[in-house]
């Protein structure tokens, strides 16, 4: 093992040195134990039988080869044969072998020690191979995961580019044509100017939607959940529609002012985008002049914002698809002023802060989209000062 590691790390100066350093300390440790055992047994060699000596040496050989590898095991086996013969076989302190039985003992010790060392080394090599294999499998599976994520990101990018380039072209064509007409002094400059402004607004909305979605996809969007009131969010949402004809008048809010303000933990700016998207959808899909009702309530530890319109509703078959990016209902015209990203952005932003956006059919006609966010219960006197 040590040798293999050395071989692998010859270029890295530091690991190489530390590997040989650790091998040296392992050898020193076992050499020290061998000398200690020999000294102890030497001091009582008149009383102990050769069997005890042999067993203790065998133990040292095995221990040494486990921690120091095959080289240490073999060296120790050979060394112990000499030690047994020299110190513990009569005649003491001579290399001569007295009885033939002693010879058999030495040979069997050597054989046992060598075989055991070899087996241990093989087992260790096998274990190392298994570990390396497991690491390789893990590495490959991580790489496969990356590749899958990359493929997914690429696929998303393709859809994004295809869809966006199509959606951007309509307003760009209008703007270009009308602006050129104005530039050469064509009639109706005031009307055309208004159309250009409207189309530019549409472009601007699409660009920010696409930016949001790609930021959500790359997970670089950081949520900053804070204590907020539901009413503040509703007020800021309504604020977004000031200047759009009829919009604020059509939004009806239902809030129970007899109860303390409802609180929740959410990122105000991102949640404002969610609720604005839902209300914007409701205003567009509900027939002109019909109200959009925004109801605030709390249940089961969640704040609920219901956005109800009186539009045609969503067919059952499409109720999941509407949350997919770039989804467009089959019957809907292309010229709706949106790239079909609003709902998918809303849902992702909600889920990023432990909330949800769901769809339900309204009791009469129309749709109800519900945004749920974690509520916060605070004692009244703890808040109002």
């Amino acid at each position: 093992m040590t040798r293999a590691r050395k071989g692998n790390t010859t270029k890295g100066d530091r690991p190489d040195r530390s590997a040989s350093h650790s091998a040296l300390s392992v050898w020193s440790l076992w050499l020290f134990l061998l000398i200690l055992a020999t000294l102890v047994m030497y001091s009582v060699r008149e009383q102990v039988s050769q069997a005890h000596v042999v067993l203790l040496y065998l133990l040292l050989v095995l221990g040494g080869s486990i921690s120091g590898g095959r080289a240490l095991g073999f060296t120790f086996a050979a060394g112990c044969v000499f030690l047994i013969d020299y110190f513990f076989q009569r005649p003491f302190d001579a290399i001569t072998v007295g009885k033939s039985l002693d010879m058999i003992l030495l040979i069997s010790f050597l054989a046992t020690a060598l075989v055991a060392t070899q087996l241990l080394a093989l087992a260790k090599a096998e274990a190392a191979r298994a570990r390396a294999h497991a690491m390789e499998v893990e590495r490959l599976s991580i790489e496969a995961g990356h590749a899958e994520a990359l493929r997914e990101a690429n696929r998303f990018k393709d859809i994004l580019i295809a869809s966006v380039s199509h959606d951007l072209r309509t307003p760009l064509t209008t703007i270009k044509a009308l602006a050129q007409d104005i530039a050469v002094g064509g009639d109706g400059a005031i009307e055309n100017g208004a159309v250009i402004a409207e189309q530019a607004e549409r472009l601007s909305r699409m660009v920010s939607d696409v930016l949001d979605l790609s930021r959500l996809n790359s997970e670089s969007l950081v949520m900053q959940p804070e204590l907020n009131t539901a009413e503040d969010l509703v007020g800021a949402t309504v604020q977004q529609f000031i200047g759009i004809p009829d919009a604020v008048r059509r939004i009806h809010t239902v809030i129970d002012y007899s109860r303390p303000a409802l609180l929740g933990t959410f990122d105000f700016v991102q949640t404002l985008r969610i609720l604005t998207n839902l209300v914007d959808n409701a205003l567009r899909y509900g027939p002109a002049e019909t109200p959009v009702t925004l109801t605030v309530s709390s249940d089961n530890g969640m704040l609920a914002f219901d956005v109800a319109d009186e539009g045609p509703g969503v067919p059952v078959a499409e109720q999941d698809s509407i949350f997919e990016p770039f989804y467009r209902p089959p019957h809907m015209a292309h010229d709706t002023g949106s790239a079909g990203l609003g709902l998918s952005i809303a849902r992702r932003l909600a889920e990023a802060q432990e909330g949800s956006v769901t769809y339900a059919q309204a009791a009469g006609a129309g749709s109800v989209f519900t945004l749920r966010l974690p509520a916060v219960e605070v004692a009244e006197d703890g808040v109002i000062g």
Partner: protein, 229 residues
Amino acid sequence: MTNTVLIIEDEAQIHRAVRASLRNVTTNILEATTGQAGLNTVTTQHPDLIILDLGLPDIPGIRVCQMIRTTSTAPILVLTARHDEAEKVALLNAGADDYVTKPFGTSELAARVAAQLRRARTSKPWPESILTIDGLVIDLTKRVVTRSGVPVRLTPTEWTLLRTLATDPGRVMTHQQIFEAVWQRQYGDFRQYLRVHITNLRRKIERDPAKPRIVITEPGVGYRFSVPS
């Protein structure tokens, strides 16, 4: 009296758009294409309002803001390309008075500029002691708030909050600035309750608390007291 507006902007097209937006506000427009030139113009010409683009080639916008503030109290309106609330907060804390995000509409920019000019005229050195806004009458000296002659009862915190915001109508105050003005002498974590107090205040002073017209939320930045019309 015509107001002088300085535009510090390096892109000619945006210059043109800003100029077009201001056609009905003022015709007295000064131009600078770098931060340094802008700073020089501020000290020599004393403009009534400064429109500052953040992406200048020579000096970071926030630094320009701070440097203008050492010599001038004229309102600074910042043009920014990013929907980055942290950046807006930093700018407001550095002395800017308002910001408009690109792409902006001509009417939006004109309205903001007009509001800041009106604010600069009326809020110096101290606003009138009685403000009337959306039917609400706030008497800052007598500490009385009424709607249609009926007194509106506010808690001490709500009163301090209202007075802080009403002292500078039209100016965006960051959460931090409001917090420091209202709770400066108190201990404890009142900051997170700011939004709760605003909500309670709105329930008492707004006609429809869900469609506020007096205390306006600036998402992720702070609050703004509407300019009385």
